[in-house]
Symmetry: C2
Subunit: 366 residues, 2 copies
DNA sequence: CTGTTAGCGCATTCAG
DNA sequence: CTGAATGCGCTAACAG
């Protein structure tokens, strides 16, 4: 407590100085430590950065001084000197989405281990926020960028790529040959969904779509549709239900799709593949409230494998994305880039998803 | 495309230099702009920082040069000079939790508007990660800290508070007089939950607990219990179901609590208040699978107001936390601190929650 | 192994 | 209103 109150006063001092725009920080600088240890600042710096290059005796001296003074190197000064910030920007379409949150977790664990920090760039489904991320890159506030949004952020006529920073994308093919993509195989999953449902006996299929034109959505839809046709489903009996444009992959979007489904008077699909688990959960809820029994009348397959899918009724059959691992893998690619790897699609990785059968799917009604 | 490829080459150059540890950046420096505009670096700096202090003609000259060169001030240099980083650290217990994610969203929108960036500090339910956040503060990588975890991170014998940085906590009373708390009124919510359930006629109550000893959990539980007793419920008929220690407020924890509930042979509560919505959803699912009908046999009340609660069956009665607003409010307090406000509990704010009645609650069975 | 020296790129005095 | 000069705190050459 005494401690806290002392520190509090110290804090006030800083503030007062800031107010009159006198920058000097109250923290301990390397020079103080050097003086305390009776060595030069260079030695302190070395002792901290590469202890092996310092005589054990002096090292001990320095460490002692560091401990006693509570010294921490000032990161701004170090960043300026080394031209690195040890920070990575992660651009996310929406932070509230559990899938992105989980991917971010993976990124964070991997990056933290490597000594990097994570700055979040939350687009929040609002493209107006893009320019800021481009600025961050250009001003060298970060050493690299991970994109979860599916395209390269721009500011005016400048693209984030022009910053020259290493960039990794974690969505389907972003369409740039110097940006590695680390992603799930959406097209394959779409195909597998079709095969699975047709295999159960379904002949009239639906797809609850994500944001139209989004690379991830396109891949899942195309894969789904093509495989279904290949397996002999009539193209006319494969319906696409558009979700809500502003509500990417969200519950709301699932409600909209379900309403389109319910509006159908005849030849309703007997199985629906949803572009996300949240959509699938909302879809199920909406149609069940209108008397459609799942899986008796309708089978539903989701995509993502979010935890909630195990706690709804019926439990959701879905494609499990290894979200955390995906994040780790993407972060590792960025670290390779930091280590000097050549930028190219050669670093790209496709991660497999796996179908998890639960209660929401069954053969079609007889 | 031509553009990209050019930039790619530029990127390679930087890397090559880094490899031989030659720091010089390839980006445009203020000196270049000054030369281009035919003015001094000081004038460029001023033109960018305070355009009012520069003659319109020169201002135009500078702006032109800035635009043509694509110049962006180097943030490390600026940070070093100004002693501010315009970054805030947000310490989160778990980023996968939708409540924290939503609060973070609020924090982000508010901070971004004020020109601050957000660095995430994800504890991931792992106290071993604390020291890193203390380092970040001490090394002045950020200008301030927002705590969502409920306690002050420590590193060895040093507390994050000793960094002298402004700190705001967004959990129940963190127990430090210089750290403002911006929080929901957990105790009041607990009381209201008891009043609501007793009002419906329930006389045997349960509480599905969050992490034991967590300030938020204590407040909700104490409020709930005290109010129930006040309303005449026998203390012996108020049960506390411990969740899972390592799974704070999560689905898993709800499953554990439900199992404790199911293990009860007699005098089962007819209503359960859960410390979180995820717990409530998992609780409902678990007991329903064992034949307990909700709300006929058992009423369930959650806490948080996450979206999923509207899509489970039955839909979840819960206390709606204004998560986004909470984040905004907390961020605003930090901004006040930046602006020189005195650090004290006087800045604390308590935000009200509101009960949302849905289908999971009803009078007890007759 | 260690000290001296010299910037990193910028914002801010202080003169003019 | 503008330019010259200074140093933020640190790391990395380069000598010794």
């Amino acid at each position: 407590m005494v401690h806290c109150s002392k520190q509090w006063r110290q804090g006030r001092v800083i503030e007062t100085l800031n107010e009159r725009t006198k920058p000097p920080s109250s923290s301990i600088r390397i020079a103080h430590v050097a003086e305390l240890a009776g060595v030069s600042t260079a030695t302190v710096s070395r002792a901290l950065a590469s202890p092996g290059q310092v005589r054990p005796a002096t090292l001990a001296l320095v460490m002692e001084a560091v401990k006693n003074s509570g010294y921490r190197p000032n990161s701004s000064a170090r960043n300026l000197r080394t031209q690195r910030t040890k920070m990575v920007l992660v651009v996310m379409p929406s932070i509230a989405n559990p899938v992105f949150a989980e991917v971010l977790r993976g990124i964070d664990t991997e990056l933290t281990t490597a000594g990097y920090g994570v700055v979040i760039g939350n687009l929040d489904n609002n493209p107006g926020k893009e320019p800021r991320f481009v600025e961050l890159a250009f001003s060298r506030e970060v050493d690299g960028v991970i994109l979860l949004n599916g395209w390269i952020p721009r500011s005016g006529r400048h693209s984030l790529l022009e910053s020259g920073l290493p960039v990794v994308s974690m969505c389907s093919a972003i369409g740039d040959e110097v940006v590695p993509d680390v992603t799930v195989d959406d097209a394959a999953a779409g195909r597998e969904a079709a095969r699975y449902l047709v295999g159960l006996g379904h002949a009239a299929l639906g797809y609850a779509a994500g944001p139209i034109g989004h690379p991830v959505d396109s891949a899942r839809w195309t894969g789904f549709r093509d495989a279904a046709i290949d397996m002999g489903v009539e193209p006319g009996r494969i319906r696409r239900f558009e979700g809500q444009k502003e509500a990417r992959f969200s519950y709301q979007s699932g409600v909209s799709s379900a309403e389109s489904f319910l509006a159908l008077s005849d030849d309703r699909p007997t199985a629906v593949f949803c572009a996300s688990d949240e959509m699938a959960i909302a879809f199920m809820k909406t149609v069940r409230d209108r008397g459609v029994d799942i899986p008796r009348d309708l089978s539903v397959v989701g995509f993502d494998g979010i935890t909630a899918g195990r706690f709804v009724h019926p439990t959701l059959t879905t494609f499990l994305q290894p979200k955390h691992d995906l994040g780790c893998a993407g972060a590792r690619v960025l670290l390779e880039l930091f280590a000097g790897a050549e930028r190219s699609q050669a670093l790209s990785k496709k991660i497999a998803v796996s179908l998890v059968e639960r209660e929401s799917t069954a053969p079609p009604p007889a």
